[in-house]
């Protein structure tokens, strides 16, 4: 009897347990109907592994024409007749508002306003102001989106440049190109996803360092690959003289067998990654010389970019090379052109800089367009900050210098998903922003958005927290997106 009662009680408990459990599970199941991606959904990091945009991208590739040293927006794009009118007068304190200056002009007793000595005209449907220094750019205005209200937090070159490239002023974070390589992978498996090209103008230069195209804490496959001018564009890529292509193939095959053996033992996925990288380098041995050979470019192209484009190492040659890399599926081509840091003799320095860059920058837009590639390529032109409206050093009628100015400067973008026109407004002194500011973080968020990535979702877990290019800030600038 006792046994039956116990059994009954046990049954009862089991029944109660099961019924309660079914209720509990049922309620969870019901609730889950409202969370469609609760089951079978992937975490952000897993989604990233798919190497796909999170939503339909407007652009597939980026060419970033970085004007290193900070071009003067006041002599190129941001036309301020007030400065010409008040030439030589002191910058009103009501405008400067005691804002930070660099060590180079902080001791200056006076801040005489220096209006530009160059003539400006309006161009295109947007009636964008462009100075006479950029005759070629003014012809492609209808494809350009000018952001007149970029602003940054850094006031010196290195932190500002690092901030633009990596989203942080200190080093060691992954560069923009690395983030995109990480988020979207490579289109062309025979070339790196992130390539870097350097050139130098005659103006006062500021250094660029490989930390700017570093992969930071991301996997090293996302590092930018620097293409140098000359016979050996990618260092250590060519076979040694004594090794033939067949030998190399044989060596790689043997190496792969050995690696595969080790993989069987240890199961370390890095080994497979290594095998793939060797294979890619092997394919690059054919792909790179094909691309870097500029001698087959037709004469029309030479005239379009200017004859400098055939001289290795010039900005024009790099623009042409950038187009070739981009059309071959390189996700991110980063150019740096040095020499814009005109603290003195700005009028003569900027003339040379503009001469070096204007034609090729405009040519790149035209060239992409005539190949049907502009709508899927995002081209960005800009420096790390702007230059002051007052003169650094001695101001004369036709000579002046300008110091660093992080509070407003102009950059332009073109192509994939950006709306041509002029965005934002600065005050009549060209010192502060009065409408639609765009912070560097916003710029990054927008660029990622154009590539089909939600900047808050492109993250990487490192040192116990998730990092992203925009870190904890940034909003997509809707006004420049089509």
């Amino acid at each position: 009897m006792h046994k039956e009662i116990m059994e009954h009680n046990l049954n009862l408990n089991r029944r109660r347990f099961l019924s309660k459990l079914s209720l509990g599970i049922g309620s969870v199941a019901l609730g889950s109907l409202l969370i469609p991606d609760l089951f079978g959904s992937k975490s952000d990091e897993e989604m990233l592994l798919a190497g796909l945009p999170q939503f339909a991208p407007k652009a597939k590739r980026i060419i970033y024409l970085f004007q290193n040293g900070a071009p003067s927006q006041l002599d190129l794009f941001d036309y301020k007749p007030k400065l010409i009118e008040m030439f030589g007068q002191d910058l009103p304190e009501s405008i400067r508002m005691g804002q930070r200056l660099t060590g180079m002009t902080a001791d200056q007793k006076k801040f005489p306003l220096a209006g530009t000595t160059f003539k400006f005209n309006q161009y295109g449907e947007a009636k964008a102001w462009i100075s006479e220094l950029l005759p070629h750019t003014s012809k492609v205005v209808d494809d350009l989106c000018f952001i007149k209200t970029m602003h940054t937090e850094a006031i010196n070159h290195d932190p500002a440049l690092t901030f633009f490239q990596t989203g942080a002023q200190v080093g060691n974070r992954p560069s923009m190109g690395s983030w995109l390589s990480y988020g979207l992978g490579s289109e062309n498996k025979n070339l790196p996803a992130f390539c870097v090209l350097l050139s130098k103008g005659k103006g006062n230069g500021q250094g660029v360092y490989s930390k700017l195209w570093s992969n930071g804490f991301l996997d090293s496959v996302h590092q930018g690959v620097q293409f140098s001018s000359g016979d050996n564009p990618v260092l250590y890529l060519n076979n040694h003289e004594s090794i033939t292509k067949a030998d190399r193939r044989k060596m790689l095959d043997k190496l792969e067998q050995l690696n595969a053996e080790t993989f069987k033992q240890s199961g370390d996925p890095e080994i497979n990654a290594k095998i793939q990288q060797y294979e890619m380098a092997y394919r690059m041995q054919t792909a790179v010389p094909e691309i870097t050979d500029l001698s087959k470019e037709p004469e029309d192209i030479v005239k379009l970019y200017g004859p400098d484009c055939l001289v290795p190492g010039t900005y024009a040659a790099n623009c042409l090379l950038a187009r070739k890399l981009s059309e071959n599926g390189v996700r991110f081509v980063q150019l740096y052109h040095q020499g814009w840091d005109a603290h003195d003799s700005l009028p003569s320095q900027i003339k040379g800089q503009a001469m070096d860059t204007d034609q090729a920058s405009a040519a790149l837009i035209t060239d992409l367009k005539q190949r049907g590639l502009l709508d899927e390529t995002l081209v960005i032109w800009g420096g790390e900050f702007g230059r002051t409206n007052y003169c650094q050093g001695k101001l004369t009628k036709d000579n002046y210098g300008r110091d660093h100015h992080p509070r407003c400067f102009t950059i332009w973008m073109a192509g994939g998903g950006v709306k041509p026109g002029v965005y934002g407004e600065t005050d009549e002194f060209g010192y502060n922003i009065i409408k639609d500011p765009v912070h560097v973080n916003d710029f990054h968020a927008t660029v990622l958005h154009l590539m089909g990535i939600d900047h808050e979702k492109l993250t990487f877990k490192h040192l116990g927290r998730r990092y992203r290019l925009t870190d904890v800030a940034g909003n997509v600038v809707k006004g420049i997106v089509t």
Binding site: A56, E187, K189, K369, G372
Partner: protein
């Protein structure tokens, strides 16, 4: 407890009586301000009677159904009924007071009012006759049914008044799922302005609840305006009432929408502003505006253009996509979850037509195909024609000649077609005019580029034909040739090596110091030898280009090796004081930087270099290579002398020159001074270079001592 019940019951009774009274004299009601506040608490209280009444119904129905189990706790049902009755009557009273405020549509309001009153009366009656009702089952059921019906009707009508009509069903009703308006079809009023009113204004300005007597539901009613008159006046400075209300500061009582309600964004205000300014039409389409119009720019961020698509086809199998992807063919969905595929081919050498055919299993899904620089031919177009959902097709620099283009007519969705760099002629293109959605056709660098373009453009009504850049009419300047000889000092005769990156240029050169001439100067053929001191000037020429700048290089011939060289007297100035004279015989030329360590400088005293030869050589000339930088006080030497002899103490003067002195400032340059004389064959040779003792009067350092800088001495 009983006492409280009595009080509540009595209060209910009183309030119901009051309700009847107020209803009778409703038209004469006039409300003091504090009473208005009480009325406005109606939305707060009304939820109590609703919930309580529902509870009552359940309680009564269930307890009456369970006849076998006598009602254990009749007091619970009683208490519920009493509370219902009390809260219902208070809510009804407050509602009545609130209804006196302006802005509500009378029709719906009346229904709501009467049903609300009915709820109040019913609940009171239910409580009063609860014993009778419980006894007769049918009455109980009827009462409960009536209560359910009334509470639903009253609640729904009330919600319609507060939130606007159809608030409840809007998310599932059909208008919500209407297809998105395309940019091309958008009407400014209907698709830009009206939606703002609908989202931000309509809840207070609808037919039912017209605050300020303003109804914003239709264009006609907008035109009518409200209590304060017309909404806009495009002649007025601030464009009239609507704009000024929007622009008032948020804390101003008249600011619209009122504080606490969703505010208009900056863009929305701008849309309304520009719409009114342009005349506030209800028919003008966005596409009719000029391209620079602000409204048009604002619109472009709201509406999708044709480019964004909702794809009607199903996604392809993921494994299928993966299998198609290889090192030379990149097949990928547009984005996570997108059915559309983008295909790109790389590596011209790897291409075979089969690789296109392999894509046929996903032919429906391929929306973008890039064959840029791939040797695809007209025959391959038949395969491509089967990708019926293609939107973008890039055939630039393929081997297409144009005969197969007709096949592409099956691509009804095609929007962008690039044929740049192919062999297509204008005649080949006409077959494509039938493509319904083609917006962009790119034919740069094709035979078609220059053929009857206007005739072609006529056939393509909705297609923009891009012809790209042609360099034929552009004349630009060549870059200067590059002199590749790195050594400026030649020991043996060497070939001059010139280079130019532009194909087909002619390089001409001179050695006599004049600029090369396009007709007379010799053409560089690669066989010119540099065998003596000379300045080579080169210039590039090409038909259709502006000839280049002149590039020049000076070469020095060093015919003999100097066995030993020393200074008679070291330079008095640092750092030259400690420098060895050997640098004058190391064949290393310096550049324009006098600090490079390859130059030796003297000031005040002459530089005397004594050279010694083990075996005397026949020497006919001495060249002193020097630097001149007038601004830097470095002048041409005052005098150069060459002495020779068999003993250092017994030297004779062989030659002396006095270089020309400049008469004004000039940029820095390098110059070799050549001294020629009859053959000398001695053990010792001395070169004396004297700096100017006093800088000329026009110089900024006048009367100061001049410098000389020498990097090499060459003997021939």
């Amino acid at each position: 407890m009983q006492r409280w019940k009595t009080i509540l019951y009595n209060a209910s009774f009183t309030f119901n009586c009051m309700l009847v009274f107020l209803l009778i004299f409703e038209s004469r009601l006039s409300l003091p301000a504090w009473i208005q506040t009480v009325g406005r608490m109606h939305p707060l209280l009304l939820h109590f009677p609703i919930v309580l009444l529902v509870l009552c119904i359940f309680w009564e129905v269930f307890s009456s159904l369970k006849n076998s189990l006598p009602n254990q706790q009749p007091t619970i049902g009683d208490t519920l009924l009493l509370l219902t009755s009390f809260t219902a009557v208070v809510s009804a009273l407050m509602g009545l007071l609130l209804s006196k405020e302006a802005g509500y549509a009378q029709e719906v309001l009346a229904l709501h009012k009467w049903s609300g009153v009915a709820v109040s009366f019913l609940s009171f009656a239910w409580y009063t006759f609860r014993h009778t009702i419980r006894h007769v089952k049918i009455v109980g059921i009827l009462t409960a049914t009536a209560a359910v019906f009334l509470v639903i009707v009253t609640g729904h009508l009330g919600a319609n008044i507060t939130h606007g009509e159809n608030f409840l069903l809007a998310p599932v009703s059909k208008d919500k799922q209407a297809p998105p308006v395309l940019f091309e079809d958008a009407i400014i009023y209907a698709n830009m302005v009206q939606p703002i009113f609908m989202a931000k204004c309509i809840s207070c300005h609808n037919d039912k609840k017209a605050k300020g007597e303003l109804v914003m539901e239709t264009f006609a009613k907008l035109l009518k305006g409200g209590k304060d008159g017309a909404l806009w006046d495009s002649t007025h400075k601030d464009l009239g009432l609507l704009m000024s209300r929007l622009h008032l500061p948020l804390d101003n009582k008249k600011h619209m929408p009122p504080t606490g309600k969703p505010q208009l964004t900056e863009d929305e205000v701008a849309i309304i502003y520009h719409w009114i300014r342009s005349g506030a039409s209800d028919t003008v389409k966005v596409a009719q505006l000029p391209t620079t119009d602000t409204l048009r720019t604002l619109a472009s961020s709201i509406f999708n253009t044709i480019e964004t698509d909702d794809y009607a086809f199903k996604p392809a199998d993921e494994s299928k996509i993966k299998a198609l992807r290889n090192n030379y063919r990149f097949v990928t969905p547009f984005a996570l979850g997108s059915p559309a595929l983008s295909v790109e081919f790389f590596g011209a050498a790897q291409f075979k037509s089969e690789q296109l055919k392999e894509l046929l299993p996903v032919k429906e899904q391929v929306v973008s195909l890039n064959l840029n620089k791939i040797p695809a031919t007209d025959a391959d177009l038949a395969t491509i024609a089967q990708f019926i959902n293609l939107r973008k097709l890039n055939l630039s620099f393929t081997n297409i000649k144009g005969s197969g283009l007709a096949a592409l007519n099956s691509l009804k969705e095609l929007k962008i077609l690039s044929l740049s760099g192919t062999g297509v002629h204008a005649d080949n293109l006409t077959v494509l005019a039938a493509l319904p959605k083609l917006t962009q056709l790119i034919i740069w660098s094709t035979p078609a580029q220059s053929q009857q373009l206007s005739a072609l453009q006529k056939q393509f009504k909705n297609t923009r034909i891009e012809t790209g850049f042609t360099g034929d009419t552009i004349i630009i300047k060549l870059t200067a040739p590059i002199i590749e000889n790195e050594e400026q000092v030649v020991l043996q005769p060497v070939l001059l090596i010139l280079k130019h990156y532009v194909k087909g240029v002619t390089i001409r050169y001179t050695t006599d110091g004049t600029a090369p001439d396009s007709l007379l100067s010799p053409v560089y053929k690669g066989d010119f030898l540099v065998d003596k001191n000379m300045t080579v000037k080169v210039k590039a020429f090409k038909q259709g280009w502006i000839s280049s700048e002149v590039e020049e290089q000076t070469f020095y011939k060093a015919g003999y090796k100097i066995d030993s060289i020393r200074f008679v007297q070291p330079s008095p100035d640092m750092p030259y004081k400690t420098m060895s004279a050997a640098i004058l015989a190391d064949t290393q030329k310096g550049d324009q930087n006098f600090r490079s360590g390859k130059w030796i400088g003297y000031r005040g005293i002459p530089m005397q270099a004594m050279m010694y030869f083990e075996i005397p050589q026949s020497i006919t000339s001495v060249t002193v290579s020097s630097l001149i930088d007038i601004g830097g006080f470095i002048m041409p030497p005052q005098q150069i002398e060459v002495w020779a002899g068999n003993h250092p103490a017994k030297l004779r003067l062989i030659k002396k020159i006095n270089p020309e002195q400049p008469l004004k400032n000039a940029p820095g340059y390098m110059k070799g001074y050549e001294l020629n004389f009859h053959t000398v064959k001695e053990k010792y040779l001395k070169v004396v270079v004297m700096p100017v003792a006093k800088l000329p009067v026009w110089h900024k350092g006048k009367a100061d001592k001049g410098w000389i800088f020498v990097d090499e001495i060459f003997l021939n």
